[in-house]
Amino acid sequence: MTSSDSKNNINKNRQTTRWFSNITILRESQITKIHYITGVSALFVVAIHILMRLIMPFNMSLEFENVILNYKNIFYALLLESILVLIAIHGFNGLRVILLEIRQTLIWEKAVNILVIVAMIGIIAYGTRTIIIANGFSVG
């Protein structure tokens, strides 16, 4: 490799780095930490969510009136919202990691990132809609 070739490569790398740094919001190491934190946090909130179904006979706990009463409790509604956000982030980031393991090209990476972010926002918005309507904006 000549010196001009190596200079070109260095310039190319610099451009790539600059280009990436313009769009990078989080480093991969930070995303991994978020993945772990959301996973461990989800463990606790999901445990409470399941326990709420087991404090009375399972079939009775799923009756419409009982479930609506759960949703009308603001603390339980907040718990459901936190489960929704934590699992959506953890789950869709996990899917992103799996998809990026399959192929490593720039266009694939960008497409996967956009796809999982859109899906994540979509599922959070849809779940939040259910929580808000079922809660009926009640704070009782």
Binding site: V40, L43, P57, F64, A88, G91, I123, Y126, A134
Partner: protein, 158 residues
Amino acid sequence: MTSTTSAKRIDDNNKNDRTNRAGIRGWLNPIIYGWERVSYWFQRLTGIFLLVYFIGHVYETSSLVSGPDAWAAMLEMTQTVGGHLFLILVIGASTFHTINGIRLIFTQAGQGLGKPGRPDYPYDPTSVNNKQRSGLWIAFILAAVAMLYGANVLFSGE
């Protein structure tokens, strides 16, 4: 012929020769790669399965906003033997994914990997040790216990 050209030609030949390529079967075979590989793909498979369940669960619970009849109709679909078996699988998958995930967090933090040593025959890596394997077995055992408990709750309705 220079050594670089010769190496390139050998490399090209290897690329074309795919007769020894194991493919997806090789990926899934635990005998070749050991239980750590089982853990690897089980973590991914349970993760995808749980993500699909999560999306379905968010959709299922959205029937609440359409009133008691829509909720009852949605529940009727899940309160079947098939629905219960599916939920038991969800319980097993979530328990395995959780316990194995905690093991992986510890592993990534460098816990339970053993001390690095001189590579002596039979070159067993210190990172693949009984601590790691026992973590994996605990994940499988707890998943089985959770599935049994879930089956008891779902089928007895208590």
